[in-house]
């Protein structure tokens, strides 16, 4: 049972425009959410996170929005750059007492120069 879902396997965006990656979850016990970025032949690297007590967290060009009532989060990248081309994974967890993260299946972002 997939508790974290990324329904868009791929996304193409023009350089300079906004990229919006979406993620949905089903488990209301999740209280911490993360986005990872993965290049080919590399492990996922942490990008940005958000606690359930917030609805927005911003770090440079990256902003994550959380809508708890809809069990939905999104990652916005503005402006998108060719180096942002990678697979983006959404993950969720309980911040304390949890040993594991639940991951989505990933969205492959391609930023076209």
């Amino acid at each position: 049972d997939q508790q974290v879902k990324q329904n868009s396997p791929s996304l193409s965006v023009q350089e300079g425009r906004i990229s919006i990656l979406n993620c949905d979850y089903t488990n209301s016990m999740f209280d911490y959410f993360l986005w990872y970025k993965k290049y080919p032949a590399e492990g996922p690297t942490f990008l940005i996170s958000i606690s359930s007590i917030k609805d927005k967290n911003e770090d440079g060009r990256f902003t994550v929005f959380l809508n708890k009532s809809a069990k939905h989060l999104s990652l916005h990248i503005v402006p998108s750059q060719p180096g942002d081309s990678a697979v983006y994974f959404c993950a969720a967890s309980r911040r304390t007492g949890a040993n594991n993260l639940f991951f989505g299946t990933g969205t492959r972002l391609t930023v076209i120069p």
Partner: protein, 114 residues
């Protein structure tokens, strides 16, 4: 080393053979995790080690899978009698604290069972 190191990077094995995958965590990290990513799937939790505590094996898919962590550092994931459905990228991660949201991932081992 500077990061989590996994070996081999790629492994092709025949169905029915046993394989061992190795993970060298970041020095000083007490927590170690194994995940796998099968084709078209998200990362799936396998096992978690924290210090000298008994590991959390709740994610291991069958008794053909086992893992150990020697001396609180290097970990080996063993798959016995490999099956084609075991083909996946196996990822190891470590964290300084037992907080999985602070873990760093290795580059993974791509296992192909033919």
């Amino acid at each position: 080393g500077a990061g989590v190191s996994q070996s081999p990077s790629n492994k092709v094995t025949e169905k029915g053979k046993d394989v061992e995958l190795r993970c060298d965590p970041i020095s000083g990290h007490t927590a170690l995790y194994w995940y796998r990513q099968s084709l078209g799937q998200g990362l799936e939790f396998l096992i978690y080690f924290q210090g000298n505590s008994a590991p959390d094996k709740s994610g291991l898919p069958s008794d053909r899978f086992s893992a150990e962590r020697t001396g609180g550092s290097v970990s080996t994931l063993t798959i016995q009698r490999t099956q084609q459905e075991d083909s996946a990228v196996y990822l190891c991660a470590s964290s300084q604290t037992p907080v999985v949201t602070e873990a760093f991932f290795g580059q993974g081992t791509r296992l192909t069972v033919v």
